[in-house]
C-alpha cells in the first residue's frame, strides 16, 4: 500500500441553527473516518444533505471541526496555527460546489486566477499571466474571456473557473465538491481527463464528492458512501459497484439513470429522510431500509471488514 496523504479520524461537526428557544443543533457530520493515499482518488457519495460538503470543508479545515483529527502528510491539520495552515493550503485545494458564489463578483477571471500565485508568492507577473492562460485553456475556457467578470459566464464556465483556480497551485490534494455537475458531457470528459492526467503526472490526490455515480466510478479508486453524517460503506470502486453490501449503497446504485437502459429495476427508498437535528436511534438508515431487522432500531452497527469493503450494517454480523 502507498502511504496515506490525508487521514481523517472520528470527525464530527455540529451546527447550531436558529436563536433563543428555537435553537437547534444539527449534527452535519457524525463520526467520519477515512484515509486518502497519495495519488489516489477517494469518492464520497451519498444523499444530498448527508454531510459530504461539510466533510470536505472540514478536511482542509475551512470550518472548525467539533471534534476529531485530521492529518495531512505528517502534519496535524486540526492543531495547525493560522499561519501554518496558510502554507499548508498550497498543498490542499478545494473546488466549491457553488461555483458562482465562490467567485468574487468584482474581480475579473484573470485576477481570480492569479490570486493563488499572488497569495503564495509564486512566479513573476509575466509567468503568472502565462500560467493563467494555459490553465484556462486546460479547462476549456477561451483565454480571450479573461477580462470578463463571473456574472458574464454560463454555469458550466463558472465551474471551470473554480476548477482552474484549484489546479493553479499544483496542490497535493484537491477536495472537489461536485466539480463537474454543471458541465456538459464533452467538457466533463475533458475535465475528468485533465484531472486524471494531473494525477498521473504529479501524483495528485482527490477527495471527489459527486452525485454522478458513473463519474465517480470512472475517476475514483475507492469510494465512501455517506448516509446522515456517517460513512456506511467504504471500498474499492470495482468491488463496491459490483457487489454493494450496504442496503443504501444498493439502492443508490440501482437508481442511476442511464442512456442505455431505459427501463430497469429500481430500489425506490420509502420513508422519511431523517432529520440530522434528531437522528434515528440505532442504525440511522433503519427507517428506510428494505431489509430492516429489530436490532437495527436499537443498536448502531459497527464497521466490519468484508473483503476489501468496510461496511456498517447488521446484515453482516
Amino acid at each position: 500500500m502507498t502511504s496515506a496523504l490525508l487521514e481523517v479520524k472520528n470527525l464530527k461537526k455540529v451546527f447550531t441553527v436558529g436563536a433563543g428557544i428555537k435553537k437547534k443543533k444539527v449534527q452535519a457530520v457524525r463520526d467520519v473516518s477515512f484515509t486518502i493515499n497519495k495519488g489516489e482518488t477517494f469518492g464520497l457519495v451519498g444523499e444530498s444533505g448527508c454531510g459530504k460538503s461539510t466533510t470536505g470543508r472540514l478536511a482542509i479545515r475551512l470550518i472548525e471541526p467539533s471534534s476529531g483529527s485530521i492529518t495531512f502528510g505528517e502534519k496535524d491539520v486540526t492543531m495547525a496555527k493560522e499561519k501554518e495552515l496558510r502554507t499548508m493550503r498550497r498543498e490542499m485545494q478545494m473546488i466549491f460546489q457553488d461555483p458562482y458564489a465562490s467567485l468574487n463578483p468584482r474581480m475579473t477571471i484573470e485576477k481570480i486566477l492569479t490570486e493563488p500565485y499572488k497569495l503564495q508568492g509564486l512566479y513573476t507577473t509575466e509567468e503568472r499571466n502565462k500560467r493563467v492562460i494555459s490553465l484556462m485553456e486546460e479547462v476549456g475556457l477561451r483565454p480571450a474571456y479573461r477580462t470578463r467578470f463571473p456574472h458574464e459566464f454560463s454555469g458550466g464556465q463558472r465551474q471551470r473557473i473554480g476548477i482552474a483556480r484549484a489546479l493553479a497551485l499544483n496542490p497535493k490534494l484537491i477536495v472537489a465538491d461536485e466539480p463537474v455537475s454543471a458541465l456538459d458531457v464533452s467538457v466533463q470528459a475533458q475535465v475528468l481527463n485533465l484531472m486524471i492526467d494531473l494525477q498521473e503526472k504529479y501524483g495528485l490526490s482527490y477527495l471527489f464528492i459527486s452525485h454522478d455515480l458513473s463519474v465517480v466510478k470512472y475517476i475514483c479508486h475507492r469510494v465512501g458512501v455517506m448516509y446522515l453524517g456517517e460513512i456506511v460503506e467504504i471500498g474499492p470502486k470495482e468491488t463496491l459497484y459490483e457487489n454493494p453490501l450496504h442496503p443504501y449503497t444498493q439502492a443508490l446504485l440501482s437508481s442511476i439513470p442511464s442512456v442505455d437502459q431505459r427501463d430497469r429495476e429500481r430500489i425506490i427508498l420509502s420513508g422519511d429522510v431523517p432529520n440530522p437535528a434528531n437522528p434515528p436511534s440505532g442504525c440511522s438508515f433503519h427507517p428506510r431500509c428494505p431489509s430492516c431487522m429489530d436490532i437495527c432500531k436499537i443498536e448502531k452497527p459497527a464497521a466490519k471488514q468484508i473483503g476489501d469493503q468496510l461496511v456498517s450494517c447488521h446484515l453482516y454480523n
Partner: protein
C-alpha cells in the same frame, strides 16, 4: 444571541467611561470656568478666585475626578451650577422636546430618504434619479440652521401655515405639538434624508442585479414586493447603520435647530450649559446622550442579525 445582549449590557459601563473621562478632562482643559461666568462681566479677579475656591474648582484635577466618580456611583449627577436643580431633573424637563423632535425628524428623514433613494435606484440615471439626487445635494449644501430660517420665512412668515417658533408640549394636544415641530423637524430631517437617500440608492444598486432578484421576478411578484421586500432587505444593513447614526446626528443637529426655533430641548440646553461652563450639567447631558447612543447602536446591532441572518456575533 442572549449572551451577546448580556455582554453588550455589561460593556455599557466601560463604554460610558470613555466619553465621561474625555468630557471631564476636556471641560477642565477648555478655557473659561463657571465662576467667572457666574459673577458676570464686572467681577474682579479676587471675587472670581474666592468663588472658584468655594466651588472646589481649585482642587487638583484627580481629586475632582474622584469626587465626581464617587458621586456617580451613587447615581447622582450633581446639581446644575446655574439652574440650581439636580441635573437629572433638568434633563428630564427638556427631554420631551428633543425626543419628539428627533423622532419626528427621523421619520421625515427615513420616509423621504428611503423613498427617494429607492426611486433613484430603480430609475438609475433616469431624470427622476437625477432630480432626486440634486435635491439631496441641495440638502447637504445647506447648514440646518440656515434651512430652518428659510423655512420660517416661507412657511411661517409668508404662508403662515406654521408658527415661527415655540414648542407646544404633547400634553396640550398631539396635533398642536406636531404642528409646532414641523418646521424644525423638516429642516433637521431633510438634510439627513439626503444621506439616507444616497446610501439607500447605492446599497440597492449593490443587490439589484443579484440572482435572487431574478428569482423573485420569475415568481411574478409585483415590483413593490420585489423592491421593498427582496431588494431592500438585502440592502438594508448600511441603511440601518446610517439610520442609527442619523439619530446621533439629529441629536447633534438639534443644538442649532432648537436654538433657531427656540425649542426647550436638550440641544439648546447643551449650548447654554457649554457657554456657561456648567460642568455638572454638561457631564450629565453627555452621559445621557452616551447612554442613548449606546442603546441605539446596540439595538441596531441586534436588528442586524434579524435583517440578515448570516450575520453572527459571539
Amino acid at each position: 444571541m442572549m449572551s451577546y445582549i448580556i455582554k453588550r449590557f455589561l460593556s455599557l459601563l466601560p463604554t460610558l467611561f470613555v466619553p465621561l473621562l474625555l468630557i471631564f478632562f476636556m471641560l477642565r482643559l477648555a478655557p473659561g470656568d463657571p465662576a467667572s461666568i457666574m459673577l458676570g462681566a464686572d467681577a474682579t479677579v479676587e471675587q472670581v478666585e474666592q468663588l472658584r475656591e468655594k466651588m472646589g474648582l481649585n482642587e487638583p484635577l484627580l481629586i475632582q475626578l474622584f469626587a465626581f466618580l464617587k458621586q456617580l456611583v451613587t447615581l447622582d449627577l450633581g446639581d446644575s451650577i446655574f439652574l440650581k436643580k439636580p441635573v437629572l431633573t433638568v434633563i428630564l424637563d427638556h427631554i420631551e422636546t428633543t425626543i419628539v423632535l428627533t423622532i419626528y425628524a427621523l421619520i421625515i428623514a427615513i420616509v423621504i430618504g428611503l423613498l427617494s433613494g429607492i426611486i433613484s435606484a430603480i430609475y438609475r440615471n433616469k431624470s427622476i434619479d437625477q432630480i432626486a439626487m440634486t435635491g439631496a445635494m441641495i440638502g447637504v449644501s445647506m447648514p440646518e440652521f440656515w434651512f430652518g430660517l428659510m423655512l420660517i420665512l416661507v412657511f411661517a412668515v409668508n404662508l403662515q401655515w406654521f408658527p415661527v417658533t415655540g414648542y407646544v408640549p404633547l400634553s396640550e394636544g398631539f396635533f398642536e405639538c406636531i404642528r409646532s415641530l414641523t418646521l424644525p423637524a423638516v429642516s433637521l430631517g431633510f438634510v439627513q434624508a439626503a444621506f439616507i437617500a444616497r446610501i439607500t440608492r447605492t446599497s440597492m444598486l449593490d443587490v439589484i442585479h443579484e440572482d435572487f432578484v431574478r428569482t423573485a421576478e420569475a415568481k411574478g411578484l409585483s415590483n413593490g414586493v420585489i423592491v421593498f421586500k427582496h431588494i431592500l432587505r438585502n440592502a438594508f444593513i448600511p441603511i440601518l447603520t446610517v439610520i442609527g447614526i442619523t439619530v446621533a446626528v439629529l441629536m447633534g443637529g438639534a443644538i442649532a435647530i432648537e436654538t433657531v426655533f427656540s425649542l426647550p430641548g436638550i440641544g439648546r440646553m447643551m449650548i447654554s450649559a457649554v457657554s456657561r461652563r456648567d460642568y455638572p450639567l454638561i457631564q450629565g447631558i453627555v452621559l445621557f446622550i452616551s447612554v442613548v447612543f449606546i442603546l441605539i447602536n446596540m439595538i441596531v446591532d441586534i436588528i442586524y442579525t434579524w435583517v440578515d441572518p448570516r450575520i453572527k456575533y459571539r
